[in-house]
Amino acid sequence: MRSEFPAHLRAPEAPRRFRLHPYQWVGIPLMFLVPVLALLGVFGETWERAEALGGGLALEVRYADRYRYKQINTVEAWVENRTGTRLDTVVVAFDEAYVREFSTLMFVPAATEAFEVELYDVAPGERRLVWAEFQAERYGRHEGALRAYVPGAPDTASVVLSTLVFP
């Protein structure tokens, strides 16, 4: 049996109204705004798809165009041979200015020091995947081109990568 609490020790009733200090009318909505925006995906990762044709190659790239500091994301570049002839070598080149803004964790297939990946013996109509993993190291928007070309050919398939890194 619980001991009953003396009535006179209880707090008397008083009106309970919602009131804020003047500065809270500004601060509280701002405070609520951040999680609401986050729930709407404003601070989250978003992905972009870009396509280009040139030099007998079709280039399709999927990459994160917005993500946060120290997060790891991938760039997937699909290259298709549309020349009708077998190509000995196709080069997929990442713009150095873009890559330098990240710590590069991995290229598959392996890249040269100039962030170029070479694909050998690409049959007509064949699609090959070049995959890179980047960790965001600097805040802000980073831009650079991703090109696919056959060495010696005048044309290239090129797309611009543009990624915003939140602090």
Binding site: S3, H8, R16, F18, L39, Q71
Partner: protein, 160 residues
């Protein structure tokens, strides 16, 4: 963003866990409770931030938490029942110079702790305590018998 949902879940979970633990754990820091309070943030931090150490994630997590605390405090103030559910109600430990053993056992308050609070309040004998109340925050309030008074007027001694 997942962080908002994670913080929300952990907040409600911790509120309920701390509520279930009882009032006493909130104000006392015995070695056991100190270990508990040190371990909870270590365990919870991983669940909230995961591998994301960005400032953006930290800002989202903190504003989510402060928003939840604000909403909880407004609801707790505005609606008495909700406040009572979250914060609990005071418990009577001593009534007119006598321990109330059932309530002391329920709240895990030993007689030594009440006597210690009596000493702090400058009360020497248990008979001099009219009420000892364990407040929702975990503190013990001592209300002494007033000398020269035979007892409270009948309406003051009513219980609810």
């Amino acid at each position: 963003m997942e962080t908002v949902l994670r913080v929300g879940f952990i907040y409600v979970f911790l509120l309920l866990v701390l509520r279930v633990m009882g009032k006493r754990e909130l104000s006392q820091l015995t070695p056991l409770e100190l270990v508990l309070l040190l371990l909870i943030p270590e365990i919870v931090a991983q669940g909230v931030v995961r591998e994301d150490f960005s400032i953006t994630n930290a800002v989202v997590a903190v504003t989510t938490l402060t928003s939840l605390v604000f909403v909880t405090s407004v609801l707790s103030y505005r609606f008495k029942g909700f406040g009572g559910f979250l914060e609990g109600s005071p418990s009577l430990l001593v009534r007119r110079g006598r321990f109330l053993p059932d309530e002391m056992a329920r709240e895990r308050v030993p007689p030594e702790e009440i006597v210690s609070e009596m000493r702090r309040a400058g009360v020497e004998h248990l008979e001099d305590v009219r009420w000892a109340v364990l407040e929702p925050g975990g503190k013990i309030a001592i209300i002494r018998e007033e000398p020269g008074k035979d007892g409270p007027p009948p309406e003051e001694d009513e219980v609810s």
